[in-house]
Every structure is written in C-alpha cells, then in structure tokens.
Amino acid sequence: MESCNCIEPQWPADELLMRYQYISDFFIALAYFSIPLELVYFVKKSAVFPYRWVLVQFGAFIVLCGATHLINLWTFNMHSRTVAIVMTAAKVLTAAVSCATALMLVHIIPDLLSVKTRELFLKNKAAELDREMGLIRTQEETGRHVRMLTHEIRSTLDRHTILKTTLVELGRTLALEECALWMPTRSGVELQLSYTLRHQNPVGFTVPIQHPAITAVFGTNRAVKISSNSPVARLRPSGRYMPGEVVAVRVPLLHLNNFQINDWPELSTKRYALMVLMLPSDSARQWHVHELELVEVVADQVAVALSHAAILEESMRARDLLMEQNVALDLARREAETAVRARNDFLAVMNHEMRTPMHAIIALSSLLQETELTPEQRLMVETILKSSNLLATLINDVLDLSRLEDGSLQLDISVFDLHGLFKEVLNLIKPIASVKKLYVTLSLSPDLPEYAIGDEKRLMQVLLNVVGNAVKFSKEGGISISASVAKSESLRDPRAPDFFPVPSDHHFYLRVQVKDTGSGINPQDIPKLFTKFAQSQSLATRNAGGSGLGLAISKRFVNLMEGHIWLDSEGLGKGCTAVFMVKLGTRGCSNEAKLPYLARATTNHMRTNFPGLKVLLMDDNGVSRMVTKGLLVHLGCDVTTVNSGDECLRVISNEHKVVFMDVSLPGLDVYEVAVRIHEKFSKRRDGPFIVALTGNTDRVTKESCMRVGMDGVILKPVSVDKMRSVLSELLDHGVLLEAK
C-alpha cells in the first residue's frame, strides 16, 4: 500500500449523512462569508456607527469560522496533510479570534443595551414634549380667542352690544349650541333671562336667585359645570338626544364705587349675572380645561366692559341733567331779574305817589290843628295826625329798606353837632317816657368830641329807633343812654368776634349803650330781632307799633357806617341792653395837628420850609441823585443818599421821616425794599413815608407802588414847588392825595 499522509476521517461516513453535512457546511460557509459583506454594506450606508473595530473583529471571526467550515468540506474525504494543516491553522485562528471577540463583547454588549435604553427614554421624552407642545398651542389658541373676544367686546360702549357680542363670539369660538345671560332683576331676588344666542327676544323667564346651583356658581369665580336639568339650563326644548354639557359662570356687575383694582376678586356688594353655556347636544364633546379658562376670562372682561358702559351712561346722564339745570337756572335768573325790575319800578312809582298824599294829609291836618276846634274835633284831628304820621313812617321805612337792600343808599356825610344830636333825641323821647313814668338819663363821656363827620339824619334815626324800642318795651323803671368813644379794649367785643374796628387819626368809633329795665328778650330770640318783619309773640302783645322793620333798618344803617349793633338780655323780665358802634369822622384833624414841619414862611424867602427834616434818598443815577438831593437841601431837609436797596435798608432808621425812591431802576428790587422797610417798622406810624420818583406814571408803575404800600408817586422831573407841596401834603395829611 502506498503510504499517504492522508488523514483518515474520524468515523466512517455514511453516504447520506455525509452529503447533508457537506451541503450544510457549504451553506454555513456561504452565510458566514456573506454576513460581513452585508455588515460592511449596511454600515457604509449608515452614517453613524461607532464600533468599527468591533466590526472588524467580528468580521474576522465570522470569516474565519466560515473558512473553517469551508475547509471542512475537504475533510469529508481523504484529504492531504496540507489540507489538515490549513484546517488546523484556520481553527486555531478562529479560536483566537473568537475568544478575543467574546472578551470584547463583554464590554460592548452593556453599551449596546444602554443605547437601547437611551433610545427608549428619548422616545418617551419626545412624546412628552409633543404633548406639551399640543397644550401650549391650545393655550395660545385660547389666548388668541380671548384677545379677539375682548377686542370685540371692548370695541363698543353700548351695554346691549357688549352683551350680545359676547354671546355671539363665545358661541362662535367654542362652537356652542346655546349661550345665555341671566341678569338680576331690580329687586335682586330673581334672575331674568336677558340675552340668548339663538332666541331673538327672550320672553321673561325668571329663576329665583336662591337656587342652590346658582348660589354655588356665584360662590366661586371659576366656571362650574351644572346639570342640564337645572332651571337655568333649560333653554332648549328637550330633544331626543343627550343634551350637551352645561357650564355656568358668574359675571360680576360692578358699580362705580366698587371699582377698586386691589380687591378685584373680593367685591363688597355682590351683584352677579349668570352666563350659561351649552355644548351641542349630540356631540360627545366635553368641556376642556382651556375652554373653561376662556369662559372665565371672558366673564371678567365682560364685567369690565359693562362697567365702562355704565360709567359712560352715568356721565352722559349727568351732563344732560346739568344742561337741564342750567336752562332752569337761567330761566329762574331771568325771572328774578324781571321781578326785581318790576319791584323797583313799583317802588319808584309808589315812592312818589304815596308820599305826596301823605304829606298833604299831614300838612293839612297840622294846619287844621292850629285852627279853632272843639275838644272832640281836636281829638279827632290829633288821631288823624298820629295815624298819618305812623303811616308816613311806615312808608319811609319800607322805601328806605328797599333802597338799603339795593345798595343804592348813600350816606349824607357832613359835619354835625354830636352832643346836640343826643340832646335832641333826649328831648324827643322825654315826653313819651314821662307819660309812661319812665326816667331817661343821658351820659356823654368827656372825650366825646363835640363835632363829628357823618350822616346826622340816619344816626338820629338809629338812635331814635333803639331808644324808642327801649321805651316801648319798658313798663316801669327807666332808660339810660351812654355815649363814649370806643377804646381798643372795648373794640373787640366777644359778641362780635368778627368786628375789628381800627381807629385812626381821622376817625373814631362812637359807642352808644341804651339800657332799659323792661320786659327783656329771650336770648334765643335775639338773632331774629334784626330780621325784617319778624316779631316775637310776647312783644306783639305790647302796644304794637312799628312794622318790625325798625331794627333791620337800623342794622343796615349801622353797617353802612362801618359799625356794629347788638342786643343783650339776660332773659325775660330782666331788661335789655342795646349797644351800637359806628364810625364817624373827626372834624378839624387837619387843622389841629401840631407838626413841627408845618409851612411857616420866614420873612425873607420861602427857602427853608422843612428845617431838619430827615430824608433818605435812593437813586442809582449819580446825576439824578445829586439833582434831587440839591432840591431837598434847598428846601432845608437833612438828606442822606444811598444808591442801592441794600444800602438803603442798612442806613434807614426811625429818624428818617421820608424815603424817596427812584423807581426807574430796572428790576423789582425797589418794591422789595419798600416792603422790607415796612417790615422793619412794626407800626405803620413809626415808619417813614415812602414816595416813589419815576420817569413814567403808567398804570403798572402806579399799581406796583400802591401794592407795596408806598405813600405816593411823583413824576420826574420834580420842580422845587412840586417837591415843597409834596412834602407839605405828606406831613400834614399823611397821604399824597394825587401823584402829579
């Protein structure tokens, strides 16, 4: 036998089995070779594959396995040693690579698994994000709808349009079947169906407001699902199908005074309307959260829009009312004017027409008195005379009062004998008083001037009225009249706190007090005394003479004389004191003033008229200053000159009697200086006279000077004579009567 290096197969092969093995091996090899090819192909196609090294390893492993199986094909029959060696080599390599791969896989597989987990995780995340996106979109949709709705609602100020629009837009946006608004009635006990989407004119359905469902809805500001059987939801005829879900929300009805942004959700007096929304009945739709939110927001907006409309309505109504009132007022004013004119006309006519016959009666009656009369006739004539005198007084009083009220009465100022006036009043009243057995005393204070300047007739009228009243209402005892010059302590009477008389050198206040021991007056009645035509009952039971106008007229006269009148009484039966103060002028003040600077012409020339008069001159123009100074020195004054406001204030003292200021200085500091000078001297009397010198006497300058309290204005250039007369007037009268 030839020795071959052939290797015998392991076991004797069965023909069929061998064949199958052969084929299987072949296919295995094929597959093993094709797998890496496929892998490479697909990896090349995909962009990302991180494990190339693994692939190579795996590929090698597979290829070698395939090679092994392929080589196996040759080992079924007798094969040479080479084949066996190749086979062995292949197997060894395969073993090595397989082990390496196995080891590698230990690391790789967890990674690969985790990739899978991550993929799953990411998928979940993506799904979540998708959901959220969906939500945001829905919200944005809702927002858009709300904005659009709000815009629609707020684009009108008419209440009905607002509500109608709300319902229409809501219905459209949410695709509602029915949408209705229930408003509270005036009584607040019921809700009335006011607006619906589908019905054109809802007939007055009403529902009591205390229904539990409604209370529940009113209790929260969220939209609440209610049963479709509840009375507010029974708006459609019940159909065959299941009615859709119903939601109700409250709409706050705001009043003007409820409009406080801070406690918007909590309103004090809550009046709500109810908005009911119904989904279509045969759809399976449900109310989604975002739809409910939309409804709530819209309800709030509607509330705001309604309040705006209400405010507008209010203001329009107020304006209309005002216009009506204006028209009415205008009419009233015109009527009043007509009435006043008519009254004045009447008075003017009556004045003449009534007085003439009165005078005739009085005159002729008094003439008649002078003739020979029998006692009865005399009595009759006297009565006629007395009555007609009373009537004449009444007419005069009435006419006087009207004129006083019109303000057309003017006092007749003249010099009169003050002492004499009192004596005359005394003489007039003594006879009447003695008939009633009353004493009358008169005391005039020693400092009361003999003569005064004022309206004698009217003063006498006031005095007579007051004294006459005192006599009238006293049954026993007497009257004491005292007159004095009001001193500053008595000037401020606690009863007349708003009366501040300010006496001056040319005026004084006469104070007259009339005390009686008569029936007195209830202190509560005192204010009424001065009102026209009012007489308290107790007084009227006395011999009622006079119409009640007397005190009113007296008060008016006293007021005209810049004075005050009042009555005091401790009560009924305790007598009464009447006091009045009036302002009178002092006579002869200009002649009696003993001033050292009076014009006393020296024999030679009129040069020195004001010797030693200290004068301060303020002028910033050198030439002008020198000229004016020369002028004043020529008149004998002792002149100090300053050329600025500050210097003036520094230098001024109470020795300076007159300050001349040149106000052609630009700027206002001249006036300020005048004010400061006044401030420096607390009493006007201590301070100097301030006179302005100016190049132009326009109204503005004059007014500015008067405003700061200057005593006069002189136009430059000043002549010697003008200056002399100015100084005389200042020192004699204390005021520059005209600015020449």
Binding site: S624, M626, V627, P666, G695, K716
Partner: protein, 161 residues
C-alpha cells in the same frame, strides 16, 4: 449924553456880559438844548450852595463820557448784548433828564426803542446821534459856565432867564 456914558467901563462890560449871557441862554432854550429842568437846577443854586449847577454839570460830563464809552464798547462786541446797551442808555436818559438836557434825552429815547427792536444799525446810528448831541451840549454848557464865571468875577449877578 448917551445912557452908556453914565456907567463905568466895568459896568459896561458887566452889562455886556449879562446881555451876552441872556442872549446865549435864550438861544440855548430856543434850540432846545436845555429845558425847564435846567432852570430848576439854577434855582437851587444859592448862597449855601454856590456851585451847585457847576457840580451837577461836571458830574454829568463824567457820567456821560463813561456811558458813551461803555456803549461803544458794547456795540462793538461780536454778539451785542442789547439788554446791557439798553441799561446804559437808560442811565444816560436818566441823567440827561435830571439835568434838563432835552435833545440828548430825546436821542436816548429813540436809542431805547432801537434797542428793544434789537436793531443793530439803528443802535449804531443812535449812538452817533447821542454822541453828537452830547458834545454839542457840552460845548454849550461850558460856554454857559464860563460866561457865568466871568459875570461873577466882574462882580455882578447872573441874570435869571
């Protein structure tokens, strides 16, 4: 014998001087260089104040020359401050009216209205006018005072116009 022969030469000179003075004053008033205010000033001059008019006039000259300088400086600025110019003119007007310088005062009034309008050319023209009037017046016043001095030196009294 003529009337003139009854007087000595000195008296003759004095009379001549006084006549000259009066003529001069009349012409000055006629041409409105001075007005009534100047006469008032003259009234203020007396024994206790013998040189009152002279003092006032010198002060006026000083003041005015200063003001005229200020005015021309102000108007030569690149950006003319009309308020400042107006203030100076106001001062000048004040002093000239105090002294009775009628024509100067009127020129100042015109000047002021140009200042209010901020009319530069007008202001410049007015300044020239004012300056001219002032120097004319100065001339007249100096002559006046000289005549008065001569009269007083000659032992006479200044006649009242």
């Amino acid at each position: 014998m003529s009337i003139q022969a009854n007087y000595g030469t000195m008296e003759l000179n004095l009379m001549q001087l006084q006549n000259q003075y009066l003529e001069f004053m009349r012409s000055v008033y006629r041409e409105e260089f001075l007005d009534e205010q100047f006469a008032q000033l003259q009234k203020l001059q007396d024994d206790s104040n013998p040189d009152f008019v002279g003092e006032v006039v010198s002060l006026f000259f000083e003041d005015s020359e200063k003001l005229l300088n200020n005015l021309s400086t102000a108007l030569q600025q690149q950006f003319v401050d009309f308020k400042q110019v107006d203030a100076h003119v106001h001062q000048f007007k004040g002093s000239s009216s105090s002294i009775g310088a009628y024509r100067v005062k009127n020129a100042c009034c015109t000047f002021r209205s140009y200042c209010e309008e901020r009319n530069f050319e007008g202001c410049v023209k007015c300044l020239q006018l004012v300056t001219r009037e002032y120097y004319l017046l100065k001339n007249k016043l100096e002559t006046l005072l000289r005549l008065e001095h001569q009269i007083l030196r000659a032992g006479g009294t200044v006649p009242l116009h």
